[in-house]
Symmetry: C2
């Protein structure tokens, strides 16, 4: 094989390491970048470096510009309605929908013994402590919104037990799961169908 410029080979190698980008996709991106204005490539390079400035909110562990993220700092958000998610990207997905008036708690993953991720590797102690400190008078609701995967379900059950042990008046809920909008029963897998039947609601 011919000797392609080192800069090209290196960037292909770097991009290949990203999720969802294979060798062909990486080559395509590099040759696309070679044909774009240099200013765009320079901007992209600077944008990558700027990620260093991103902080972690000391309250919910989501991404933040400061010590506290904009959601935790928002006085209009209900602090006794906490949606527990796996990652900051889930916060972004839920916020894009809009309408949610509570705050979040980012676990930083799910319990996954196969990947050697135990409860102590996640922000679980911090969640329990955060809920403990909420005032007793108010009605507290915790929405467990880990993904409906085996690990996400197990983590939700673990959190439920930990939060119930607090012996506080807390409503604990799990995000709904079943058929996604637009889907057809015909093509749904058995686990999803069974969950959809269990989760049926009066209309």
């Amino acid at each position: 094989m011919a000797d392609f410029p080192l800069a090209i080979k290196k960037l292909i190698g770097g991009l290949e390491r990203l999720p969802g980008i294979g060798p062909k996709g990486a080559s395509r991106l590099v040759f696309y970048l070679l044909n774009t204005p240099k200013s765009f490539v320079g901007d992209l390079s600077k944008m990558l470096l700027a990620l260093e400035e991103v902080k972690i909110c000391q309250n919910c562990f989501g991404v933040a510009d400061r010590e506290k993220c904009s959601i935790c700092a928002d006085l209009k958000r209900k602090k006794d309605l906490i949606c527990v998610v796996e990652g900051s990207i889930d916060v972004m997905a839920l916020e894009a929908v809009g309408g949610y008036k509570g705050v979040y708690h980012v676990l930083g993953g799910v319990i996954n013994p196969l990947d050697h991720v135990g409860p102590d590797d996640l922000k679980i102690v911090e969640l329990v402590e955060r809920v403990r400190q909420l005032e007793n008078g108010h009605e507290v609701e915790i929405i467990l919104a880990t993904n409906p995967t085996m690990e996400g379900e197990a983590t939700a059950m673990y959190l439920k037990r930990k939060l119930e042990a607090l012996d506080k008046n807390i409503k604990i809920s799990r995000i709904g799961s079943g058929l996604p909008m637009g889907a057809s029963l015909e093509f749904a897998d058995r686990a999803t169908l069974s969950r959809a039947m269990e989760g049926r609601r009066d209309i």
Copy 2:
């Protein structure tokens, strides 16, 4: 929607502009990068800037480290066997296969009136001049390897006429087209099937 850190929003916006990366894919990449070691993000940033060093070969117009690319500079390559391709990425694809002993000529696109790309926007004059300067004694072969799309076919026909007008002893060929390996006739489109029948070979 909550106010996410500017660095995150900017990088998502930048990555979205790349081919094959949508808004969801861009978010996923950014949150992946937030969880990788800072050194990797820094390296990626530097690799992008290093693309500036990539030069264009003054002979074949492919990517190069110097004035002349490694293929044109290779004394073992046959200079009177020229494979004409649309872009440098095609050179990379063909070189990855190996076995080709000639050189390349990168057009920089295809003739596409809808996109306002005419023959003058491509390295066609340069190709004709390059072929003209080849010594007369040798057998010259030009392989037209533009993609088998409508524009690629039209460009190949245009090049054939231009090269024939040189009134030189040149063999002009077109890369084979037909069913890709591993495909089944059942699912092939009509244009591909018809081309496969036309392009049948004795065995």
